[in-house]
Amino acid sequence: MIGFVQDLGWMAVRFVDHLGKLAVFAAQIGRALLTPPPRVRPFIEEIFNLGVLSLVIICVSGLAVGMVLGLQGYNTLVRFGAEQSLGAVVGLSLIRELGPVLTALLATGRAGSATAAEIGTMVATEQLDGLRMMSVNPIHLVVTPKAVAMVCVMPLLSALFIVCGLGGGYFVGVKLMGLDGGTYVSSLQNAVDFHDDVVGSLLKALVFGVLVGLIATYRGYTSAPTSAGVSSATTSTVVVGSVSILIFDYFITALWGV
């Protein structure tokens, strides 16, 4: 019994320790951002790796989710004779929650784990030490472009997910279920408010981008220099990243006040 409580206490201490180290790490990234030279080439490479290479999974998933929403939404609304509001239901669900959250979860799995693995491998093969010995700060050259690219890419991917989802909902509602196209679109436009919904959605995507960018690079950077260490860094990125996204989702939704 005492052992259990001790373990719990120890876990709490370790958690706070990690949080502190993460904060220091984030500060180092912040300082690197302000230090010249700007690493434009690596940054663009990372936009490609994290954004362009995630396009397929994001758009396909967005389409699928939109279609399911269209189907489920229609089947439920038609019971109350409210199927005219399908556009609003699909749109609000996607924009407020499913777009940013699902995009972030998918991105964590794909881009986040890839980032952690890449940095972890560089630690294991002494490439980061090599950079240090050449008087180049590995946080400046390797970590910062990756983290910043993740932040920039997340809102873009989220918007694309949502647009594909709206299209999927349109396809199911209008083409399959026979709703009037104009009704779908106008219901959507009337229900969605720029400030309350779209801005909140983009804000969430940005915050999630910061979370995943930080967690993935931190876990990779601090991984043990072995293949087991790299693997552990990858899995913990996905786990910790996903849980953090869901928790932060609640807080942002509550604070944005809709």
């Binding site: 490609f48 954004g51 362009v52 873009l156 918007a159 949502i162 647009v163 436009q189 720029f194 959605s201």
Partner: protein, 153 residues
């Protein structure tokens, strides 16, 4: 070098497509417009605003011409709304503002009925003729009361 030129192009394309998606969601779906349509600030005080919210539209003849910027309680305990309107409008001084509902159970907004005076309101002026929001429950209450009165007769 050629490899990186292709990559730059693809990245640029991706960013462009992503930004257009954001623009589409903001403007087409969310109804955000680039033009700062405000400038003319008018005030209107109501006894009851119902569910009127900040950023609710201000409408003339069904067309949106501005929005509600702020709602405060003035010293007479009336609700004073700050309206931010299109500066090109000429609002006669005897214009009235009423709070109406979109549909039966929808959001509240302000509708302006233009008056006939030749003098126009300037920024900072007050719309003196206002009509408060009709609360549905009061209406129903009145209906029930009237029905009871009729029964009693």
């Amino acid at each position: 070098m050629r490899r990186s030129a292709v990559r730059d192009f693809v990245v640029g394309l991706f960013v462009l497509v992503g930004l257009s998606a954001i623009a589409y969601l903001s403007m087409n779906v969310g109804g955000w417009s680039l033009r700062r349509s405000g400038g003319l600030t008018l005030y209107a005080a109501f006894d009851q605003i119902g569910g009127l919210k900040v950023r609710a539209p201000v409408v003339i003849s069904g067309v949106k011409v501005g929005q509600v910027d702020a709602i405060v309680l003035d010293k007479n305990f009336r609700a004073r709304a700050t309206l931010d309107l299109d500066p090109s409008l000429k609002i006669p001084s005897d214009t009235s503002a009423s709070i109406v509902t979109a549909g039966l159970l929808g959001d509240r907004y302000i509708s302006l009925e233009l008056g006939g005076e030749e003098t126009y309101l300037n920024s900072g002026d007050e719309i003196t003729m206002t009509e408060s929001a009709v609360l549905l429950e009061r209406l129903i209450g009145k209906l029930i009361h009237n029905t009871d009165v009729k029964k009693a007769e």
